[in-house]
Amino acid sequence: MIPKKYVELIWYKALAELKAEAARAYIGFLWWVLEPLLYMSAFYIAFGTGLRRGGVPFLAFLLTGLVPWKWFASTVTNGSNAIQANSALIQQVYIPKYVLPWIVVVVNTIKFSIILGLLIILLSFSGHAAGITWLALPVVIAIQFMVIISIASFFAALVPLFPELKLIVDNGIIVLMFLSGIFFKIDALPPRLAAFLRINPMVEVIESYRDIFLNNAWPEWAGLMWCIILSLVLYTVAGAILRKYDRFYVKLMIG
């Protein structure tokens, strides 16, 4: 459990970063909507019209994959850098280092919730009405949150110790984007390859969103269970590393 004073720190720092980001640009927080919108249109143009010509069903398929992916990808990318990004601060005041990836995750979660709202509006216009299985949506979001915080914390803990890992994370995210079933169904692949790709928790997460939004079906609980187990293991390992090097990371930044 996170002590109350650090919950307060995470929350206030996250809000402060969001406010600062909004204040930096002329159109402020509109960018939180525009940026993912531009990002998604680029993919739609490339894969929806150019390569595949899928029309509306493909658009819905693509967006239900891209929106959760974007939440995952930007958070893991920024989160893995969380300790270095705060190097000046942690030389001035003591902050438990596990707090730093949490701040990144909270910032991105707030941005994601806006985009998710937009996605739901868009889907309802294209004939995907809410059904009973939408009740599973908060559960899927919570599980994705666990996946994100555990992976972000894991890399945040390791990147200061092995700076080269940052490059691996950044490139790994790009590779993973094409292997998470955003652009095609994982099950369209040979079964053994598909089973292998399912190690990646984002495959299950994305399929769960699609089950709910597009098929009015309940998500595959077994797959989500895998996400939970993996998250708990990674978060425990990350927590142990962060605790062990809590007052050591700062020396890497001074030396």
Partner: protein
């Protein structure tokens, strides 16, 4: 002043590693062997030539870093380094920055809010408190930074040289406020090069030399010896304070 020990350093050493490629680095010991007790309510001065390891010592006391050898035994977790403008974000207002910086220094949001009026008054910012800090002059920023840091009231305050900040008037006011706080029965560790500060404020001084506690004692006598040491080669001749390179890891 009681003699209850708040923080105890036992043969503490700290090394930094400069990375020189994959799995290789050069190790520098900034502190070799430092031991002393910090007593409740005292003001302890730290002196030493440049590079003697004084800043590292403060970071160690603040719990920002852990020692590589020896032990730091602390009986309070409310120890903090006086840091001006910690975590300031230029695009937020003065008020928001005060809250953020206060939380970072260990206050709760409520506690910062309760002190907000004092912060605004002390910093003399008036209505500018609700303007973005990015629009402040450097003097205004310094005033806000000081006012917030001054309100964050840890059990043990660590100060790296009391310097007044801001424009002439405020510089005097802030230095005076700081001196009053130190003179009260607060537990303070202060690194300083100013002999007057030592004589006026410190109950004891610790002299760190090449990362080792060279002497601990009564300010007047120790200060005299310390100043004497400058005449024998001092920092301008042999570079006494340079951290020793002890080996390759």
């Amino acid at each position: 002043m009681s003699h209850e020990t708040v923080i105890e350093l036992q043969n503490v050493g700290v090394s930094y590693t400069r990375r020189a490629g994959l799995m290789r680095g050069q190790k520098f010991w900034a502190l070799h062997d430092v031991s002393f007790d910090l007593h409740q309510g005292e003001t302890l001065g730290v002196v030493g030539h440049n590079g003697a390891g004084k800043s590292t010592l403060l970071r160690l006391l603040a719990g920002i870093m852990a020692p590589d050898r020896g032990e730091v035994i602390s009986r309070t977790d409310r120890v903090s380094l006086l840091s001006l403008q910690a975590g300031f974000v230029p695009h937020l207002t003065g008020r928001e920055n005060a809250i953020l910086s206060g939380i970072l220094m260990g206050l709760s949001r409520k506690e910062v809010l309760a002190r907000m009026q004092d912060i605004i008054e002390f910093s003399e910012l008036g209505e500018f408190i609700d303007e973005a800090v990015r629009t402040y002059s450097s003097g205004m920023r310094a005033r806000l930074g000081f006012a917030v840091a001054f309100q964050a009231d840890p059990d043990v305050l660590l100060v790296d040289e009391i310097l007044g900040v801001g424009d002439a008037g405020f510089r005097e006011k802030s230095a005076l406020a700081m001196k009053q706080k130190i003179a009260s029965d607060k537990t303070v560790v202060i690194v300083t090069h100013n002999p007057e500060t030592i004589i006026d404020l410190c109950n004891r001084i610790v002299w760190i030399h090449n990362g080792v506690t060279h002497a601990i004692g009564e300010p007047r006598e120790l200060l005299r010896q310390y100043q004497e040491s400058f005449r024998h080669g001092g920092p301008r001749g042999v570079r006494l304070g340079e951290p020793k390179q002890v080996g390759i890891v």
